[in-house]
Amino acid sequence: MGGARTVLWKELKDLSRDYRTLVAVVVLPLIGLPGLALLTGVLVTSQTISLAIVVEDPFMAQNADLLVDAVNSSLQLYGVAANISLYTNLSEVKPGETDVLVYIPNGFYNNLSKIDGQARVIVSILIGSQASELARQAVETTFSLLSQNIVRDRVLKLSDMASVEINPESLLNPIVVQRGFHKVTGAPATGVEASVAQAARILEFSLFFVVNPTVVFMTDSIVGEKERKTIEKLLMAPISRRSLLLGKLAASGILGLLSAIADGIGIIAFFQISGTEFTLSPTIIIVWFAAVVLLVLTTAPLIVFIASRSESVRAAQNASFLVVMIALAIYFSTLMVDLSKLPGPLSLALSLVPFTHAALMIHNYALGEVEAALLNATLMAGYWILLTLIAARSFSTEKLVMYKS
């Protein structure tokens, strides 16, 4: 065990001076993810679109300022800054020079003021512009609110005419959908629990960021030693293969955990800064951390197996890339797919991949299925032991030494 500690010391010393890896694995997520949110926020709010409102209807033209104020308020809610120009004739506007065009034709007010009239407004947006799309939504929200007010007035007028009492809100929304939540066990769930379950998907996806540095480090730690011609002397030092492997696995574990912590902080900062709803509970963070630990412990021996059987760095990288892609496919799908709801054969195939259980561990816990989450954790631990035994067996000095760089 002393040998393993010495190898761990060497690996960590070496790693602490491998600035590229440290920047890529630790610093980049810590700065990059919050930076991305900040940058996106700054860019979104600093973009200004041109919005042209053409009011040909004379009555509406008299109240155009009120319309502009209402549209402006909606735009602010959507976080879009716009330069709004008012026109009284459509021919004054060059459509190519405006991002959003709102056209209120003649007769608009006349149709609105009839008890059963239907007024028409035309909104045209510049294609391929996200800001224009947001502006369109803001404009439609404005007109939707206006429509609701007009319906209320009409209902009140009709009820007066018919001398009956009608609640306009009931007429507008005859069916009220009342939302509730429940867990897989059938027990009711709170809104916070529902939000945490939703946020758990992001945590599941974030597991991918743990796999990658573990793969990169382990590949370099095994095949890189061959390439840098340091392995042969190390193998002849008085240290067992088991201790040597243990030292390297421990180092990759520490790097994986550092990366996970950095990614975790980065992701939380990203959502905080971008203002997106992202609710976490202390226990889900603990479960996520446990999943990360098990994932690192499982991935590292898998890469040892691949790296020690690879004849070159490139071959090791190619084979490891396959592992990374499998992890990416599984963790990316967790954003959209419920892994636990897949049909039998597909579910069985996925359950053979250790990565699946790390995601399911978080997923099941977030849904309140603690026993299922524990089973996933146990399976991960089983995979870890199995893969470590396979890695130790495949860690052949002959293969390591005979490699030609």
């Binding site: 010391w9 070496d14 001076r17 002959e398």
Partner: protein, 246 residues
């Protein structure tokens, strides 16, 4: 007593037979130089002797133990091995490289770590300032001296060096040879490979000629010169190979 005893060793790698019944014997206190051209099987034989790769057939004993046996990890404590083209850890300083090996060879005894570090610093001939720098910035000669120091720091009973001066300039090679001669004078047993016959003549007390995976001669340097009526080992080797081929 024989420190190394290899008998009728055969090895085929990727359908190419590298060793064809190679046999050699290294006695205590000898500087045994295994000399032969590139591709003769020197490195493969050394790797088999060190237990790094397996042999197809043959018998081997190093310091009384068969490589790969359960006691082999203990035997490694008495061996200093310098592979061909070996490199130190570039991102570690000279001291850190030495400390790494000192920790491994001391087996957790802190007093031994300091002793080995002192030994290594003296053997390397590198200054404290040089040892405090990262090994990645060293010249090839400095790297080799650092590794030789790491190889000899624990006073091994057997020192195995594969082409120790390969790729070094004249001054660096001279320093390495001087270190080997100095340690040999203290009674260390050396097994060294080289393709350079003049280097073999400079260093060897005993010589083994290897060609196409066979040891075609082994004995003292004087035996080799007299057996082939040669004035130098180079001449003796050419005649030995000629004899073998004829």
């Amino acid at each position: 007593m024989h420190v190394v005893n290899a008998n009728d060793v055969w090895k085929t790698i990727k359908r190419k037979t590298i060793l064809r019944g190679a046999s050699l014997t290294v006695g205590e206190g000898q500087v045994y130089v295994l000399a032969g051209p590139n591709g003769a099987g020197k490195t493969t034989l050394i790797r088999i002797l060190m237990g790094l790769i397996s042999m197809d057939s043959g018998r081997i004993e190093v310091l009384g133990c068969k490589p790969g046996d359960p006691d082999w990890d203990k035997v490694k404590l008495d061996i200093g091995y310098l592979p061909e083209d070996a490199s130190p850890y570039d991102r570690l300083t000279g001291w850190e490289n030495l400390r790494f090996y000192a920790e491994l060879y001391s087996q957790g005894d802190p007093s031994k770590v300091e002793e080995y570090l002192e030994n290594a610093a003296a053997i390397s001939g590198l200054t404290r300032e040089e040892l405090s720098r990262r090994a990645g910035g060293y010249s090839r000669g400095m790297k080799r001296r650092l590794l030789i120091a790491a190889t000899l720091m624990h006073n091994p009973r057997l020192v195995v060096m594969d082409e120790p001066t390969s790729g070094l300039d004249v001054f660096a090679a001279y320093r390495v040879k001087r270190t080997i001669r100095s340690m040999a004078g203290k009674g260390y047993t050396f097994l060294i490979t080289t393709h350079d016959m003049s280097e073999a003549q400079e260093l060897a007390t005993h010589i083994g000629f290897i060609e196409s995976g066979r040891i075609i001669f082994q004995g003292t340097v004087e035996d080799a010169l007299s057996a082939y009526s040669a004035e130098s080992l180079e001449e003796a080797f050419v005649r030995a190979v000629g004899d073998g081929r004829s």
